[in-house]
Amino acid sequence: MSFLSVRNVSKYYGPVAAVDSFGLDVEKGEFISLLGPSGCGKTTTLQMVAGLVRPSAGTIMMGERDITHLPPPQRELGVVFQSYALFPHMTVAENVSFGLEMRKVAKAERDRRVKDILALVHLLALADRYPREMSGGQRQRVAIARALVINPPVLLLDEPLSNLDAQLREEMQFELRRIQQVVGITTIMVTHDQSEALSISDRVVVMEQGRITQVDTPYELYERPRNPFISSFVGKSNFLAATAEHHAGGATISIGNTGITFQANDRPKGKHVSVFIRPEKLRLTAPSEGQIEGTVTSRYFMGNQWLVSAKTPAGTLSVAVQNFGAPPPPIGEKVGLVWRNDDCRVLAAGAAE
């Protein structure tokens, strides 16, 4: 029996399915991310778990308890909204204490718990401020503290970092994970930012058009995306058109226009397939030494790495080159490209594209 179980939950708006047969079992203490482009139904899913949107079908179980039709106050889940939704007319301490008041916790006990949780999010000194007197990052931590102070069994986060600037976002990402680990709370986070999902989750749920398309650990998801959409949405990818000869042990893949063939363990359907390979798994070398030869068409310096594009007979390939040693060859130069065939993934062409 898993801790939180979402079974076949759907939400229809008229004939349109915003969420279609969503099923997921969450273990106690897990950090799950719902990842997908906007409009994929991830926020609707979260709101159904929170009780703010009524599912059209399916059940949601907390252990043995069916919470599908319970109103939000009786679910006792912690929710952090994208806009933080702090109460503007209350101080930080009053905001955080609200949930305890609703639970009729005695004043002394309330004060103690508010103090403890504010210490956890490093906001003890600002307890008497109003939300409008605080920065975005601070407000966000108030929202997290307010959701956590009631000791909810599950914490739901709706795009918690999207309103922060880039630097703060990265910092808060790890802060979020730290708090989650300290409290040991089961967490579901909605995000459209793949790096956020990869860096702090135990498992990532990818959603497209209301459906789950892959559930995996971040590493598996990145290394073995199930379809071309995921491989380009989660990280960057090069796609090469290829043909597959199926045989007993797997398939022989021939990359178009190049004469390159290799044995793949993947068994995509059909003859026409896509080979995809991550930019960081390609290496530049001398023109004659690579598996394929190309000409550099663009070269961008990103600080920690270079992003080089090379035109090859198989198409234009992006290569990520660590900023280590001399800069890569300039535009117009001939280069060779090297990779390990094991790093290539073969997917049915055009699937879900």
Partner: protein
């Protein structure tokens, strides 16, 4: 902030002067010791203010107007809060009609309203009742309360209410602890506009007041149509003073910018 050029500055000063001059003149004339409407160049006197306070009819009308404005503004606020909640949050048949109905007193000339109410009240045999006068004023000022409450409702983050729900608050608690406090600027701003509009209303009131319920503007109108003496200026000065003090109090309490312009 960009500074105004000299031409713009002169223009703005003229507009402000044009708006304020009549009020300043009225207030100055109120202090004249003479029997006619003249500027008090030589000496100041409070005799016309005394005259107002000793004039029983004026004082009765003043208190009448205060009671009327308090009651009608409060009643219209009590009607406007649920109406605004319904209009912004629910889809129902006749929603637009309800919205239009609440705004219609702004569009229908008060003269027409006055005649219509007069006719209605005489048919009902209710002419001259203070309760019905309050009802007519509540109707006439409701557009102001509804508009301001609607404005603060639409600009409100509804997730604050959702957050309260997830923290364990029932619907009634959410309304009292979250919705109402967040609506307070709209409610008090609407109430204030309603109060002032009711206190000022003349056109319709001429038709629906009776000798026992004459309001201050109607009393002034009746008095002024017979004779003009500096007592009228004194009454006007007092009305301006009441409005100014109300505004200052509200500004100190909530900030007028926030109430009327909706600045956070």
């Amino acid at each position: 902030m960009q500074r105004n050029g000299p031409v713009a500055l002169i223009f703005h000063s003229l507009v402000v002067a044009f708006m304020l001059a009549p009020m300043v003149v009225v207030c100055l004339v109120a202090f004249t010791p003479e029997n006619t409407l003249t500027m008090p160049w030589n000496s100041l006197s409070l005799r016309w203010f005394e005259a107002v306070f000793e004039h029983a009819d004026f004082m009765a009308s003043f208190w009448n107007s205060v009671r009327l404005a308090l009651l009608s503004a409060t009643i219209s606020t009590f009607l406007a809060v649920p109406a605004a909640l319904a209009i912004t949050r629910y889809e129902f048949r006749g929603r637009d009609a309800l919205n239009a109905l609440f705004l219609s007193p702004l569009i229908i000339p008060h003269l027409v309203l006055g005649v219509a109410f007069l006719r209605l009240f005489s048919l009902m045999g209710a002419t001259g009742s203070f309760a019905w006068l309050v009802a007519t004023h509540a109707i006439v000022v409701s557009p102001y309360t509804l508009r301001l409450i609607l404005a603060s409702l639409t600009s409100m983050d509804r997730n604050a209410e959702n957050a309260a729900r997830t923290l364990g608050a029932g619907e009634w608690t959410v309304f009292c602890r979250i919705t109402m406090p967040l609506l307070l600027p709209g409610i008090s701003g609407g109430w204030l506009l309603a109060f002032i509009n009711s206190f000022d209303e003349l056109t319709m009131s001429i038709f629906v007041t009776s000798p026992s319920t004459v309001t201050l503007p109607v009393r002034m109108y009746m008095y002024a149509s017979e004779s003009i003496d500096p007592m009228m200026a004194a009454v006007s000065a007092l009305m301006i003073a009441v409005a100014t003090v109300t505004m200052i109090v509200l500004d100190r309490m909530f900030g007028l910018d926030r109430l009327l312009v909706g600045k956070g």
